[in-house]
């Protein structure tokens, strides 16, 4: 039996390659279907693997609080804010918090200068606690310290990319850079964190929070972000509820008003991301389903043509002793191999496309194909081949030998 399979496969391959162009065109539907699914899967898988790592490095017990303004309010010029008072309130009243730090993004210019070099970078005002919350440590020099904030010192801790962009020396500590017209002394260089979603995480300048506040001048409009990590014994839900209550009270929200802030865990961010991936997957699944269907019909069509073309051959084989299942297997295997070949070509094309996409976008995680997607792609195309191959194969197997032999 196994042997007969091998035998049939060999002659099936021979007849597929005897009509190379036709076979290729026939399998195009399957090639496109499989290629698109593999391309998307390889890119999104690379992305979610990467994002998984990123969020893991953020720590599962860290929370980010941001102000949130609904779109209609934004149109009316209303802006929700998180203020230093909110931070103070949380520091004073909330329980279960290991470290907490404000982050204030530079709202005017994020230009930074060193000598004749100018670069743009993400400049954030924060505190010593940032290193625990973000798990970001220095490789040279020191991190921001508490006294820096108390005295609003003009110091900065920079990322690897900033050092490079400004052509700072290997050890930039004690060099001076200009931010917003003020001179800042570099006290530390951060460990390299690599890229995330096409953006460098090393293109970053940290200055003391209070320094940033004074740089911005107009404190009435300050909108900060708060990052905090939970202590080991704290329950995420409890802390979240507690923070919500605290902030709602502080912002004087009545019970029918929505939160004007968002408390998010790394996991929630990841979940949101996974939801998007899931939606993309469903859409792609639909596309693939349709193209596999079209591909299957193409295969059925060409197999029917092939059966007609080879009617006489079928007659000969029957005359010299082929039984129904011999002929059936012959054509079924041909349809199966045809669509499997299409699946394989699609797999290669899809992976090539995925790699191309991943490589074209700088910092994009490299494409990965999970084994299940290979199995799924080949399984599906094989299934399509068999499903749409049955009709032509049965037609061939049921031919009357004498009619088939007489066929011109």
């Amino acid at each position: 039996m196994l042997f007969a399979l091998f035998e049939s496969s060999r002659s099936a391959l021979a007849s597929i390659f005897a009509h190379r162009l036709r076979s290729f065109l026939t399998t195009l539907g399957i090639i496109i279907g499989v290629a698109s699914v593999i391309a998307v899967v390889s890119v999104t898988q690379g992305m979610s693997a990467f994002i998984g790592d990123t969020f893991a490095s953020l720590g599962t017990n860290s929370l980010t609080i941001q102000s949130y303004t609904p779109f209609e309010d934004q149109m009316k010029g209303i802006r929700s804010r998180l203020t230093p008072e909110d931070l103070e309130l949380i520091e004073r009243r909330a329980e279960g918090i290991a470290s907490i730090t404000p982050i204030l993004y530079a709202n005017r210019s994020s230009q930074i200068k060193y000598g004749s070099q100018t670069a743009f970078s993400q400049i954030m005002g924060t505190t010593y606690a940032y290193q625990d919350v973000a798990q970001s440590y220095t490789q040279l020099g020191r991190f921001l310290a508490q006294p820096d904030n108390l005295t609003r010192r003009r110091i900065a801790v920079i990322g690897e990319d900033v050092r490079e962009n400004l052509s700072l020396p290997e050890n930039p500590v004690n060099e001076y850079v200009e931010i917003g017209g003020e001179w800042f002394k570099i006290v530390g260089l951060l460990d390299s964190m690599g890229d995330a979603m096409g953006m460098s995480r090393d293109d970053i300048v940290l200055v003391p929070y209070t320094t940033m506040v004074s740089l911005q001048g107009n404190q009435a409009r300050t909108d900060i972000q708060i990052q905090l990590s939970l202590s080991d014994s704290a329950e995420l839900e409890e802390v979240t509820t507690q923070l919500t209550t605290l902030l709602r009270n502080a912002h004087n929200l009545s019970s029918d008003e929505d939160d004007d802030f968002r408390i998010q865990t790394a996991e929630q961010l990841m979940e949101e991301f996974n939801q998007i991936i899931g939606m993309v997957t469903v859409v792609i699944g639909g596309i693939v389903g349709i193209s596999l269907l079209v591909g299957g019909i193409g295969i059925m069509n060409i197999m029917l043509v092939s059966v007609t073309e080879r009617t006489r051959e079928i007659g000969i084989c029957k005359a010299i002793g082929a039984k129904r299942h011999h002929i059936l297997m012959q054509f079924l295997i041909e349809a199966l191999l045809l669509s499997l070949l299409g699946g394989l070509i699609g797999l290669a094309t899809g992976f090539g496309l995925g790699t191309l996409i991943a490589n074209t976008i700088p910092g994009f995680p490299s494409a990965t194909i999970p084994l299940w997607s290979i199995a799924l792609a080949l399984g599906f195309s094989g299934f399509v081949g068999v499903l749409f191959g049955i009709l032509p194969a049965a037609k061939a197997a049921n031919l009357d030998p004498i009619d088939a032999l007489r066929y011109e």
Binding site: A4, A14, K318, A319, I320, G321, K323, H326, L405
Partner: protein, 235 residues
């Protein structure tokens, strides 16, 4: 020993309102090592006869016993098996598989017997050697002359060691020299103990045979053994 027994075989084709009686009440016994020719004008039912003998076609009525088996009640798969075991076909148009070389063509019927490749190859080469084509085994049909193609077809018929060889106008597409060669080969095969049934409309061919059945309008017009000395009488 009786190999083939036909009793009141008829084959009717309904063409609209008209019924064509391709075979009409045929009774024949064929014995082992017979060398038999069916002759008759075109349309007299020779091919229909041979197709029924070869279990490719079923008679409308009548009984057909092949090697002791009543063929009437067999289904398509069983008929395939009978054709594979008992019958070697040789067609006018050779009917070789175009994409398989000579060896592949001769090996083909053995595939349906689940014989190992090595053994199949061995048997096929032996059969090809028997018909004098041992040096052409890797040629495709379109790389062979008509006579060589027919030899491949004969090798394919021989390789299964069937009880009967059936040939329908085997030399119809061949020139006279090749025809002589092929007929010599048939004579030899008969000498080796094979049973041969040949359909032809050429007396030249029929003359090689030892029994000649002349058909007319689906019936047997004449069935006569040919004495060696009286062969010339046919002309």
């Amino acid at each position: 020993m009786v190999l083939i027994q036909l009793q009141d075989i008829t084959k009717y084709y309904e063409m609209g309102t008209q019924v064509v009686k391709a075979l009409d009440g045929i009774n024949i016994d064929v014995y082992k090592n017979d060398y038999l020719a069916f002759i008759g004008s075109s349309g007299s039912g020779k091919s229909t006869m041979l197709n029924i003998l070869g279990c490719l076609d079923k008679p409308t009525n009548g009984q057909y016993h092949l090697n002791g088996t009543n063929v009437e009640n067999l289904d398509q798969n069983q008929l395939s098996e009978i054709r594979n075991k008992e019958i070697g076909f040789i067609f006018q148009s050779f009917n070789l598989l175009p994409r398989a070389d000579a060896l592949g063509n001769v090996m083909q019927p053995l595939i349906y017997r689940n014989i190992s490749v090595r053994k199949r190859k061995e048997m096929a080469i032996e059969a090809l050697t028997r018909v004098g084509l041992s040096d052409r085994i890797d040629h495709l049909p379109n790389q062979l002359s008509g006579g060589q193609r027919q030899r491949v077809a004969i090798a394919r018929a021989l390789v299964t060691q069937p009880s009967i060889l059936l040939a329908d106008e085997p030399t119809g597409n061949l020139d006279s020299r090749t025809t002589t060669e092929i007929m010599q080969l048939f004579d030899e095969l008969h000498g080796e103990g094979h049973t041969l049934i040949i359909v032809t409309h050429e007396n030249e061919i029929a003359r090689h045979c030892h029994r000649i059945i002349e058909m007319k309008d689906g019936t047997i017009f004449n069935d006569s053994a040919v004495e060696k000395g009286s062969k010339e009488l046919i002309n």
